[in-house]
């Protein structure tokens, strides 16, 4: 017979120790008995390619939850947060969201970042009739949002691709090339750039979709540079953009880049230095930087994380506040569908402007209509649950983002 490989008492210690540690990690033990909480799921890309963004998105969610709970909850219901990591992978995300739905019994899932994750989890949240809020940009998100329960806080990449083409035209470029990371978000962006550019009779000099997670993109880049473009629309995340721009700089060939703002920003300058990033054109839906909601959020965010929030963090903050206001408007007894029905109402035009949860709640309590203008945008949702924000066009000059112009976002014709 095989020898028992474990010392039983040690095993018992391990099991009980792990269980104790697990108990300690459970959030929200401080809730009083009998109080009806709102169970909120956060599904963030903490690890994987979303790693540079996900942890801060979760911080923003926690910050907003704390704000709502400090004010006594929404309609008297405090938020209880259950957080999961989706590893930026649809397979892991499906398991995580099932756990949130079936075990934690959450009523909404917020903070989904990658479109691949958003598209994989939407059937599950739809089946369970849950609200889901995301920063996904794949155009398919809009068509898949069949029950109207999904809310896209980030502009669709159809709109992004159009904006990229519009900027390339305004800047007088003649031979744009397209280079994009192979996922549903960025391939969508690249395709919409191409079709928007070609709709005006132009031609794209090269169109390269590259595989993620490589240590070098030189061969792919060489293929693009061989077509002698005057500008490259580069749909990339920060890690791959860092490598590609490094290799582009080393190649010595001259051209400009148009990139999404969540990649082309001060963090990228920090990674590459001022010289290699000079003149990059960075396009983002402008976080409402002059807006009081953003200023207050940014200040609180900075005390916790010691850094400025990016657009995704601001969007995550807005998700929780929007949800809280919708819950407040729907009342304590409302079910998920009723809360969902209020989301458009508390953000839509025509109400009294509010910049924080408490402001909005007080307006609602007076029996008035409220219009929450968030930290990420004015939050006016279109008929598929999408936001159509304005875009800021920035140039990176001497390591800083300089706003050149703002162009209105447009849905593709």
């Amino acid at each position: 017979m095989m020898k028992q490989p474990y010392n039983l008492s040690r095993r018992a210690f391990l099991v009980s120790g792990t269980a104790a540690a697990g108990l300690g990690a459970l959030p929200g033990q401080s809730f009083a008995q009998g109080e009806r909480v709102f169970r909120l799921g956060a599904l963030n890309s903490i690890t994987g390619i979303g790693g540079p963004y996900g942890p801060y998105m979760l911080e923003a969610i926690k910050l907003a939850v704390a704000e709502v709970n400090a004010a006594g909850g929404a309609a008297g219901r405090k938020f209880q947060l259950f957080a999961e990591d989706d590893q930026t992978k649809p397979e892991a995300a499906v398991l995580a969201v099932k756990k949130l739905v079936e075990i934690n019994k959450v009523e909404a899932v917020v903070g989904i970042w990658a479109s691949s994750v958003g598209l994989a989890t939407m059937p599950i949240t739809n089946d369970a009739n849950l609200i889901t809020m995301n920063t996904c940009g794949a155009p398919e998100m809009l068509t898949e949002n069949k029950k109207g329960l999904a809310w896209m806080f980030q502009a669709s990449n159809a709109i992004f691709g159009n904006a990229f083409a519009e900027v390339a035209r305004r800047r007088g470029f003649k031979r744009p090339a397209v280079m994009a990371f192979n996922n549903s978000t960025f391939v969508g962006q690249a395709n919409y750039f191409k079709s928007a550019w070609e709709a005006n009779g132009g031609k794209v000099s090269a169109f390269v979709i590259y595989e993620p997670n490589q240590s070098s993109y030189r061969t792919e880049l060489a293929r693009v540079l061989a077509s002698k473009p005057d500008v490259i629309s580069l749909s990339a995340y920060r890690p791959d953009a860092t490598i590609i721009l490094k290799e582009w700089y080393q190649s010595g060939q001259d051209c400009k880049f148009i990139m999404p703002g969540w990649t082309a920003n001060e963090d990228l300058v920090k990674a590459l230095g001022k010289e290699a990033t000079e003149g990059l054109i960075s396009i983002s839906n402008v976080a409402a930087e002059q807006h009081p909601a953003f200023k207050r959020f940014a200040a609180e965010f900075k005390t916790i994380t010691k850094r400025e929030p990016d657009i995704f963090a601001a969007q995550c903050y807005d998700m929780v506040i929007t949800l809280a206001l919708a819950l407040e408007a729907a009342g304590a007894q409302a079910d998920v569908a009723a809360i969902n029905g209020q989301i458009r109402t508390v953000t839509g035009t025509g109400g009294t402007k509010a910049n924080s949860f408490v402001e909005g709640r007080d307006i609602l309590r007076k029996g008035q209509k409220v219009d929450y203008d968030g930290a990420s945008s004015r939050l006016e949702f279109g008929k598929h649950g999408e936001t159509v924000p304005d875009f800021g066009v920035f140039d990176i000059q001497d390591g800083r983002l300089v706003l050149k112009e703002t162009i209105p976002g447009q849905l593709p014709a």
């Binding site: 790693g51 997670n213 240590s215 061989a226 080393q250």
Partner: protein, 291 residues
């Protein structure tokens, strides 16, 4: 497709291949002597890359010190894991050791992210332009990388084929029982093996960090191509591991010129498949007869 593009792709493939040859050699040595595929190899590389970053941050900028520090650190962790985990499992099946090595990989990675977070880091080195020879571009940094890898490979091959320690290693690889019967003490060879494997992963990781960006998944993502390269070269054959991974990398880069980047991995594996159909033992492997 013009020959300049192909030449550039080949050069790129050689650089990446030489860089990955270091951890690939570690895989093949561990497989030959400790007899299991070590899935922690990738995360030892990650550790090397992060040690380079940490050393630059806290000890000042010298890249040579940082790379040597990375090698020392990974060698130390590799030894620690040998004494702590793999030695205890030496009598178990290779599957349980493979699983244990996956556990080690997760432990190493999670420890790194606990301190360093998920965000990317870059090794602080000034950017230099490539030398341009009529379209063929050669990067000075790449020359250093290939140079460092070559020196390290030469050193270990000298040790393996010219010194008593190397002879003992090869003896154990050939037949552990015979080696033990002729009085070779496995313990010392194991210590040497794990130190070299760790140092090589550290060096590979540090060089990769210099070339690319440093992320928590840096090494883990490379396990597949590295194992593929080792299999292509012939499992357990040190020369085969180096040539296998270089061939595999060149195949990937050249393939992306013809079939598009999305399919380059597929084409590289197709080449692997063809080689294995013709030579099931790999390029340099010896046929193993089952008894």
């Amino acid at each position: 497709m013009d020959w300049i593009s192909i030449a550039n792709a080949v050069i790129n493939g050689v650089v990446i291949g030489m860089l990955l040859a270091l951890p690939a050699l570690a895989i093949t040595l561990v497989f030959g002597i400790a007899r299991f595929p070590n899935a922690a190899t990738g995360d030892y590389m990650t550790l090397g890359a992060y040690t380079t970053i940490a050393s630059q941050m806290f000890l000042g900028g010298s890249i040579v010190v940082a790379v040597l520090g990375a090698m020392t650190m990974t060698a130390a962790i590799s030894l620690l894991m040998y004494f702590w985990v793999f030695r205890a499992l030496a009598e178990r099946s290779h599957v349980s050791r493979l699983i244990a090595s996956i556990g080690v990989a997760f432990a190493v990675r999670s420890t790194i992210t606990f301190f360093a977070g998920q965000d990317q880091y870059v090794v602080d080195l000034p950017l230099v332009r490539a030398w341009n020879f009529g379209g063929i571009r050669i990067l000075p940094t790449d020359l250093y990388i290939v140079g460092a890898a070559l020196i390290a490979l030469l050193l270990v091959f000298c040790v393996m084929y010219l010194t008593p320690t190397g002879r003992r290693m090869r003896a154990i690889a050939d037949s552990p029982e015979l080696a033990a019967a002729s009085g070779i003490r496995a313990r010392r060879v194991m210590i040497f093996l794990w130190a070299v494997a760790g140092a090589f992963c550290g060096l590979g990781g540090a060089l990769l960090g210099i070339k690319a960006v440093v992320l928590p998944e840096l090494g883990w993502e490379l396990l597949m191509p590295m194992f593929a390269g080792v299999i292509l070269g012939g499992i357990g054959s040190p020369v085969g591991a180096v040539l296998g991974i270089v061939t595999f990398s060149i195949a990937q880069e050249v393939a992306s010129l013809f079939v598009g980047p999305a399919y380059k991995v597929v084409l590289a594996f197709l080449i692997l498949l063809c080689v294995l159909l013709l030579r099931p033992q790999g390029m340099f492997g010896r046929p193993i007869a089952a008894r």
